[in-house]
């Protein structure tokens, strides 16, 4: 009898511990007094976090029945991993921002997201915010919209015009042959400087390809898709052209993929991808970097014979998602909050002003309400103008593996001079098609 009691006691202890480890809240998010609490994870970026905290407070004053807890997405080790861990652990928030199309595809594939287009009032947001065209390419393969894009950064390349001028390059190069020519002049004048100095060039991490390969590929292919559904549809000629261009830069000793601190800002490199979020950092850390004085931003360079003025680029666009694990009350409160935020242009203006991230709207370059932002930071006009040329990332749930192959099989090897462009492209294609099967 005593033995049985001991065993029961031990088992009770073990299951108590296990229950404690795996406790899952069954809270609907609504308290007895009818207040619905939303957990909103904002981007781990101080300006975005501050914006959403302010907006949430404003909303709470007009809607006392909703409480919005805004906190930054933890980056342990990445924001994506934190979100996955939260979902797996049953502690997912109601909504998060800063979700890319690729990551949303992963989450949607796992049934973790609410299809926003199925929620009443979603189309009102799209219409009122004037984003009908912008949201079109965000439609997923299953016909649903899982993400409400918040901002869209048409990624541009920055050029250190001051160093280029010293090297005898007076015009920003726009085609591949012009870039190679500029590299030759740069190396002749400054053997220690590089055209493109960036450790990421040799790093296979998937998202890093958005800011090198895809910028160049979208320009070279005129925005041709890379993956469509579960098919590889990459433009081989454009892809090989891109890899050959990078290979030629390497041959001219124009690439530096070693670890180096802020090479563009410090003048080690004269060319790099620049997102609009960079300018607030530069204003603080590198006030000497002034638009049109010592740097310029342009669309990506294109193969000879193409029009560089209308080159396509990569759209670093992120948006808001609502999680399927949230209660219906929380989901409804979340969509009402989003509706309230985007029913008034001044909230988008405030977002643009505080973060430098162009709102994902059709009229960001034409609407007068954004004029003060462009007057304050003129370089942002280039980003606004480029929005129609920006192609969002693929929506394949395996985007991480697929984009890793681009680096591992082709781009990184080309940067290190380990493979020729055609073989790199073929190996990459084979690996991607194998993964898609």
């Amino acid at each position: 009898m005593k033995k049985k009691l001991s065993v029961m006691l031990a088992l009770t202890l073990v299951f108590t511990i296990l229950a404690g480890c795996g406790s899952k809240s069954s809270n609907s998010g609504t308290s007895a007094d009818g207040v619905t609490t939303i957990e909103f994870w904002a981007a781990p970026n101080p300006t975005q976090q501050a914006y959403w905290q302010k907006i949430a407070k404003e909303y709470e004053t007009v809607n006392p029945k909703v409480k919005i807890n805004v906190s930054a997405i933890k980056e342990s080790p990445t924001s994506e991993a934190s979100i996955q861990a939260a979902i797996a652990g049953g502690s997912a928030p109601t909504m998060t921002e800063n979700i890319s199309r690729g990551f949303a595809a992963q989450l949607a594939n796992s049934k973790a997201l609410v299809p926003l287009d199925t929620i009443a009032g979603f189309n009102d947001i799209v219409t009122k915010r004037n984003m009908t065209k912008t949201i079109e390419p965000w439609e997923f393969a299953d016909g649903h919209q899982y993400v409400l894009p918040i901002y869209s950064n048409a990624m541009l390349f920055g050029w250190r015009t001051d160093i280029l001028k010293e090297a005898g390059v007076n015009e920003v190069p726009r085609t591949y042959s012009e870039v190679i020519e500029a590299t030759k002049k740069l190396k002749a004048k400054y053997p220690d400087k590089y055209l493109w100095a960036k450790p990421d060039l040799a790093d296979p991490t998937s998202w890093k390809r958005w800011f090198d390969f895809f910028m160049l590929y979208n320009a070279a292919s005129d925005g041709n898709k890379f993956i469509e559904g579960s098919q590889f549809v990459g433009d081989e000629k454009a892809g090989v052209d891109v890899l050959t261009f990078v290979d030629n830069l390497r041959k001219e000793k124009g690439l530096l993929s070693q670890n180096v601190t802020e090479p563009f800002e410090n003048g080690v490199g004269v060319f790099t991808d620049v997102g609009p979020w960079t300018f607030s950092t530069w204003a603080e850390k590198y006030p000497e970097l002034q638009y049109k004085e010592n740097f310029e931003v342009t669309l990506p360079p294109v193969p000879d014979g193409m029009d560089p003025a209308n080159a396509k680029t990569f759209a670093d666009a992120k948006g808001i998602v609502i999680y399927a694990s949230a209660s219906p009350e929380q989901q409804a409160a979340a969509i009402e909050f989003i509706k309230w935020v985007y029913s008034d242009d001044k909230n988008d203006v405030a977002f643009f002003q505080e973060t430098n991230l162009p709102p994902a709207r059709d009229d960001v370059g034409t609407n007068e309400v954004f004029k003060p932002v462009f007057e304050k930071t003129p370089v942002l006009q280039e980003y606004a103008k480029a929005i129609p040329n920006a192609v969002p990332s693929m929506d394949n749930p395996k985007f991480n593996e697929l984009q890793t192959f681009i680096g591992q099989e082709a781009f990184n090897k080309i940067v290190r001079g380990e493979i020729d462009p055609k073989t790199g492209w073929d190996n990459m294609k084979k690996a991607i098609e194998g993964e898609l099967q």
Partner: protein, 293 residues
């Protein structure tokens, strides 16, 4: 009756460890084994059983193949270096007239330091514009991409590991050295053993149990390399530093393939178990052949 009570007392005292191991080791191991036969992606509410598909897929991928071989490459570089360094530190510290403990603690401190911080410091140290690299380039004409070369990247990670573990292993070896009776050396001296033979003929054989321990620990450590690789190379270049842990992490948390990652984890566990078993046997044979055990 006394024996029965002693048994109960034994179980009672062992129960915290047993419960801890059950909850945090045995449970996850069984769960991992179960997951390895599924296609669960960590967050989806549903998943399917896929039999041995994850295992067969893993065998054919360059990531898993590299993880297997990279571990042994790390062993070849890391184990001799860390063993030599820790032995050197232990011998030096033992010979110190005083402040032995202070020096040992000093050498032990890297073991307690954060791998992330150490990796970031090394990253800065090897940066293209760092004073060291600038000196090598400008004065010696050496432009080395430490983290971009297959062997140099592996070597850098192995050296960080060696720096971290040297003090820990030196502590074990120092205690081994301290346990060698001084009279043995005196007797050997009377028998005509030269100073140059002392280490090889007396110290090393009598230190064998401690060396055996540090060797097993250092071989085992190569199967758990993650932080340094994650921070410095991400497993590259070309999988040159892609360890088991790195591959498991990438598949589980980047590619969201928890089932597949579990299969790799099981394969890693099997590889670790077999490797350590074989290494143990070799070390025991080495000891027996020389008459040290």
């Amino acid at each position: 009756m006394i024996e029965k009570n002693n048994n109960r007392l034994g179980w009672l005292f062992a129960s915290p460890y047993l419960i801890f191991s059950t909850v945090f080791f045995l449970g996850p191991l069984i769960w991992s084994l179960y997951l390895s036969f599924t296609n669960w992606d960590l967050i989806s509410p549903t998943y399917d059983f896929v039999g041995f598909k994850n295992f067969t897929k893993a065998l054919g991928t360059p990531g898993v193949r590299s993880a297997f071989w990279v571990t042994y490459k790390f062993m070849i570089v890391f184990v001799p270096i860390v063993t030599a360094m820790s032995l050197f530190v232990a011998v030096i510290v033992k010979g110190l007239p005083k402040l032995k403990t202070v020096f040992l603690i000093g050498f032990f401190l890297p073991y307690l330091s954060s791998g992330v911080v150490a990796s970031l410091i090394v990253k800065g140290f090897l940066s293209h514009t760092s004073p060291v690299q600038t000196f090598l380039r400008d004065r010696l004409g050496l432009d080395i991409d430490w983290l971009g070369g297959s062997f140099s990247a592996l070597f850098v990670v192995a050296m960080i590991m060696a720096w971290k573990f040297t003090g820990y292993y030196a502590l074990i070896l120092t205690s081994g050295l301290e346990s060698i009776d001084q009279e043995v050396y005196e007797a050997a001296a009377i028998d005509g053993v030269k100073d140059s033979q002392r280490f090889w003929k007396i110290t090393l054989p009598l230190l064998y149990p401690a060396i055996y321990t540090t060797l097993i620990l250092s071989f085992g450590a190569t199967f758990g390399i993650f932080t340094e690789v994650y921070q410095l190379t991400g497993g590259g270049p070309n999988y040159a530093t892609n360890t088991w842990q790195m591959e498991i992490y990438s598949q589980a948390f980047k590619n969201l393939q928890a089932g597949y990652a579990s299969a790799i984890a099981i394969m890693a566990a099997v590889a670790t178990f077999i490797s350590i078993f074989v290494i143990r046997k070799i070390l025991e044979m080495w000891g027996k052949r020389n008459g040290w055990v």
